[in-house]
């Protein structure tokens, strides 16, 4: 299982939710809200995309909204 810790002050929840929706066909993605972070968990990921999934997911969020503002 892959997981990603996203800082609440740097990544906006709306962008995370949009990214989860866009990547839903590639993995079972769950979102957990922690105190200062959002924890994104990727389950049942295809082995071929496992290496790049997290990185592409992060880039996608940056492309969506350029951050929280």
């Amino acid at each position: 299982m892959l997981s990603l810790k996203l800082n609440k002050s740097l990544y906006h929840l709306a962008a995370i939710k949009k990214a989860i929706k866009a990547y839903a066909h590639l993995a079972d993605i769950s979102l957990i809200k922690l105190k200062n972070y959002y924890l994104v968990k990727f389950n049942s990921v295809d082995t071929q995309i496992k290496v790049v999934l997290k990185d592409e997911f992060c880039n996608y969020m940056l492309a969506l909204g350029k951050g929280p503002r």
Partner: protein, 137 residues
């Protein structure tokens, strides 16, 4: 202040948000998302860590060059942000003035009554009729 740490296939740039505004960091990151994987972490008020990983397998010198370009872009966006903030009032003033002169009310007043049957300037008269030579009797 910028601190940079290079690992095997990635680089971490630590930036102080006091010097480089967060919007500049987002802007510079956005420019590089086609060439590299960017991940942001850290404290928004103290120190932001930017993780850069090249999409292509590259040597350490190529990675160093990518980091250098990123730092330049960071500077570029910081300057743009500064100019943007300092010119904001001027831009708002220009727009306010433009809207005051050609406001929506002005446009509505300029609209004609919609009576297309009257032709006070004779526009509807065909050219041949208007400029026809009078027939000699």
């Amino acid at each position: 202040m910028i601190k940079c740490k290079l690992t095997k296939d990635a680089a971490v740039i630590s930036v102080s948000p006091a010097l480089y505004p967060i919007d500049a960091i987002y802007g510079a990151s956005y420019v590089f998302i086609d060439r590299a994987y960017i991940f942001l972490d850290g404290d928004e008020k103290k120190n932001i860590n930017i993780y850069i990983k090249s999409k292509k397998k590259s040597s350490s010198s190529a990675l160093r060059s990518l980091v250098g370009e990123f730092q330049n872009e960071l500077l570029n966006y910081s300057f743009r942000d500064k100019i943007n903030k300092s010119n904001r009032k001027v831009r708002e003033g220009i727009i306010e003035r433009a809207l005051a002169v050609f406001g929506p009310q002005e446009i509505l007043n300029e609209q004609d009554s919609g009576d297309y049957l009257k032709d006070p300037l004779g526009i509807a008269i065909p050219w041949e009729e208007k400029h026809a030579k009078p027939k000699a009797k």
